[in-house]
Symmetry: C3
Subunit: 476 residues, 3 copies
Amino acid sequence: MSGLRHVTSINDLDNAEIEQVFALADKYLKELGETMERTERTRAGANLTTQRIAKSGRMGTGSILATLFYEPSTRTRLSFESAMLRLGGRTITSADPATSSAAKGESLADTVRVVSSYADAIVIRHPRDGAAKLAAQYASIPVINGGDGAHEHPTQTLCDLFTLRRHNKKLKNLSVAVSGDLRGSRTIHSFVYALARFGAAIRLMPGGKGMELPAHVDWRLRNEFKCVPLPKAKYAEDDAVDALYVTAERPHQLSLIADASSNYKLKKAVDAVYVTRFQKERWSEGARDYMKVDSKFLQNSRYKNTSVMHPLPRVGELDIALDHDTRAAYFQQAAYGVPIRMALIAEVLGLEKNFALAQFKTGFRHGDYELYERPPGDSGIRCRNPNCIVHDPYEGPYAANKFLYVPAEAPRLRCYYCETDIVDFLIAHRRRGHYDSKLSRRRPVGDFRDVVFFADEEAAETAGFSKGQPRRAAGK
Amino acid sequence: MSGLRHVTSINDLDNAEIEQVFALADKYLKELGETMERTERTRAGANLTTQRIAKSGRMGTGSILATLFYEPSTRTRLSFESAMLRLGGRTITSADPATSSAAKGESLADTVRVVSSYADAIVIRHPRDGAAKLAAQYASIPVINGGDGAHEHPTQTLCDLFTLRRHNKKLKNLSVAVSGDLRGSRTIHSFVYALARFGAAIRLMPGGKGMELPAHVDWRLRNEFKCVPLPKAKYAEDDAVDALYVTAERPHQLSLIADASSNYKLKKAVDAVYVTRFQKERWSEGARDYMKVDSKFLQNSRYKNTSVMHPLPRVGELDIALDHDTRAAYFQQAAYGVPIRMALIAEVLGLEKNFALAQFKTGFRHGDYELYERPPGDSGIRCRNPNCIVHDPYEGPYAANKFLYVPAEAPRLRCYYCETDIVDFLIAHRRRGHYDSKLSRRRPVGDFRDVVFFADEEAAETAGFSKGQPRRAAGK
Amino acid sequence: MSGLRHVTSINDLDNAEIEQVFALADKYLKELGETMERTERTRAGANLTTQRIAKSGRMGTGSILATLFYEPSTRTRLSFESAMLRLGGRTITSADPATSSAAKGESLADTVRVVSSYADAIVIRHPRDGAAKLAAQYASIPVINGGDGAHEHPTQTLCDLFTLRRHNKKLKNLSVAVSGDLRGSRTIHSFVYALARFGAAIRLMPGGKGMELPAHVDWRLRNEFKCVPLPKAKYAEDDAVDALYVTAERPHQLSLIADASSNYKLKKAVDAVYVTRFQKERWSEGARDYMKVDSKFLQNSRYKNTSVMHPLPRVGELDIALDHDTRAAYFQQAAYGVPIRMALIAEVLGLEKNFALAQFKTGFRHGDYELYERPPGDSGIRCRNPNCIVHDPYEGPYAANKFLYVPAEAPRLRCYYCETDIVDFLIAHRRRGHYDSKLSRRRPVGDFRDVVFFADEEAAETAGFSKGQPRRAAGK
């Protein structure tokens, strides 16, 4: 019991754990008043909630949740705070970067180390991709990712999945259309991984040009989450769909589907349409001709019984006129934010006897990939995502040069923080003093302590390595 | 018990309910320590309060109040939060527009819908007139107006009335001078309605040129709140007074006073002077020669036993030297903010068995006036107050084109949100396809579903109506 | 029991009281989990804390702490809030000047008067020197200084001393190097007074040119805190040390040390190195060649067992590489912020039976120096520190012209608020109508109600006084 548990990515939780969070959320939802519909959230309801919670004698009493928000938010922060208070706990908040120590130039790494002695868990939101993993590296209490740059937003995904599960009475083998700014929306990135893990058919509908899924997310879907793209002919009737992935439920079915994808029987009905706004804060210019989901969009029979979902806020891409449509699920989805976050907080803090996540020394589930780590000032390869936390002037010195080595036909270096992959790199061998030609990248690397990865030949040469020639006493 | 209760205007509460809030505030005030004077607010006192409150076992435990402040505030927000905490409840806060979802372009309407699932009641402050009514329209939990533009500030008025009542041992038939920025101060607008309803003589003392009461507030005082202006001769000795209204306690006295106003016996002593600052945020330029209340102002014998009141903050219009004058009531008035807000919150949440406001399906007391409503994009007449919430680019699509039809010799259309009146409009009849000449405005309108109001002939013609000519199948 | 207790300076607490705060902090620290080290702050630990605190049935329940922060902060504010919550109390917060009533031009003096009726204690942070004392003058509840301009930061000093005491098993006769921006750092100012009071040898190491201790702080150390400077020869081996003070434990030893300072036996080992960042917000231009404490700095044998301390945030002056050095004490120091602030809050609120500070009518311990006070508009001398709260346009009218008269060979006028001394002034006698020549300043002044202090002869003459000539009915 000397471990911790961070939730920086939806992939920090396995499927069984996600189901466990949902079971606890079901319990809390019942206590909060099953239906939080407009006409029923009355004074009587509020009192009932109060009494139920008072009676349940929450173990959360005395625990403190710190919410550190370095980017604007109302929904996520308030729902976390509400969740902690409903659990009987307390909150401390730093919600405005301009009034915090960050204005004095303090690093996130130092801040979370200090806040670890003020609180029992931290929720962090940050404009940089990978900030949550950096925070988790330095915190000595559980860190929950409340959204980090364009990387992930795992608790939103838990709400999304929970909504799908409650509306469809199941979570597996659903057909979900994911639309909008697939590139800039962290919400989407967490969501598609989760959909794939629960065997969904995923219809990708970019909201405009260049808004496709980032290449590294797409690659992971195909190579790590067992998604198989169907041929266009399978969904020719739907122009808006750019790609359609189906997922093998069990590994042995994978090749089966792949081989037979042209014979795959695609369910016509779409169980949910997930709409997202244009993430203007992650683009240098505005969107033109961004998609709009309205009653016209939904008139196709495949959407007859769909759930229209949206992580909110919306800014035009989702017609207000749909609010009274029975297919509108987005306010319900938002309302689930409280029981879901109550459940997750309770599990990371160990507040409920029968619902606890496994704990690990490093705070993370040990992954399958080997870790490559070099000190911050190292001349080796660096993450190429300019918005990664490792490139933040304040955080850089705290962020080691860390990558996961993803073995594949063309192996990849995945940034430990933002999870963006590098496919184009050189391997240098410290003992032998030479670097491999690009063609040799595929072979096993051996002990990572003897290896340095470089961006190109020039960098390797500057660091004292030579091309394919063994040499003793090589440089740094 | 399937209703709700919003407090967006002082007129959402009837006189009996206001008295009920005061009775509960009296009770809380006793618990908090009757006199909150400087020398007595000691450690001993704080402990006593703590113990009393702990002993009373508040029902508020577990309830959450959300404070959504889109405009600067310390006093109002902190006093609401203190009140909720003193009740044993909890708070969640969004106090900086720049760090909230509003910065991403989210509408207030969507925000309150979502926050309705996070909290049990909402307090809102907003720079736009009528924002509180829009919030109440979309919230599924009680909304309390913490100040909306230049519209109203009903909880400040409750503190003001409570101060008058405690200082004068009664609330009825007082003589109150209301001074300063009568146009821009929402506090004043709520306050003069309440004064009239409790039968006060109201001395209006604008702080400078153009700072008279807005025309629609003045009209309501005379026509809806039974205020009768006295002839100038009655208060010729007081240059600063611009108008003086007396109020009939009972309807049948109204004409009596009106007829006999020149014989009305005006009490010389002024029970309270209510001072307000220049509301620079609601004016395009600064104030010149703004009034100042100081010991010189107060040396007239009519102010001998007056209570000097101010909603604070003050910025020069109220002399600091008065702080030690026994007539200074303003810090006491501010201190009443906590018990008053405790009482109001307790009543809307139903926390106290014997103190509960009646609840209504729409959250509002049903008014006497008929409601006219057209969809947002309608070509009919729109509110003419440029600061009304209906003209906010984000809120517009959520704000229906809603007016109350106020029957009068010259009927008025009152904006449902900001309560500004339009006196100059045309009535078009959809079935008949024509619009009435202006002269015909006085006649009863009939079923509002068959009617469209227009700003002018051009708008009516553009929409396909013709002047006084019946026509079938008329346009929109 | 009709008093109050403010903590605006470390000198508001006597040594016995500081020890008492530490004894209570020891108790709380035990409850919070003795060691708050990374590997031990686990879920199990969090629960234990929760249960211990729940079991202890805190008296803080229901008490409210208001945190008013007019300057950026994360650490101090969050640790105060965490402390209050751990005590079972609640908090209300105003952390952004731009969203508070200050944006409407409200004075601090009015704000604290009003907040006194919302809360049970106030923590204030403000960019102006002396703001905490002004707040204390107007508040009717205890005020704790959370940092005011370059004046003081007494609760940081309590954490610092507590760290020294726990690391060295004692607080007396330590040898401490104080380095960095000695001029701009309020933390340093509070800290050196406390070090002197507990008999430390103080090694002053300015971080750059012009960063020496302010003259008035240095004068107080020598003249009021019994510090004796050692001759440079005593510490010639340490170039970085600009001055070295040793302190007499008991008054009678003072002359002993002074006489024998050249024979004083200086302990070689330095028990702690206190590092501070460049306070860029208090300087008009950036720092060049600011010091850096790193492993190279620490390699001298005198630092072999030193504790490296830093109030954080750090911005480069403290090498990140030291974080894993066993001498690094700064994160531990930050962690002590919670139990220390719990103890101080509990003592000012009287929450613990056996731990209570003495209370006084004015909220302050009565000092030894006589108070001279003139009304705000007075033509007499004014504080010469341009950042003093008395020169704030909003606060000026509330800040009386108050000085303490410090008798000495060359007497000093010490600003009551910011504690900066004036050494160059004239004494005018109201009854006699003349002012003394500068040479006469040394003689006793008599009743301060008959005296006016002036900055120079011109000011005295303008106010109607003449040089050394008795005259009746003198001016203002």
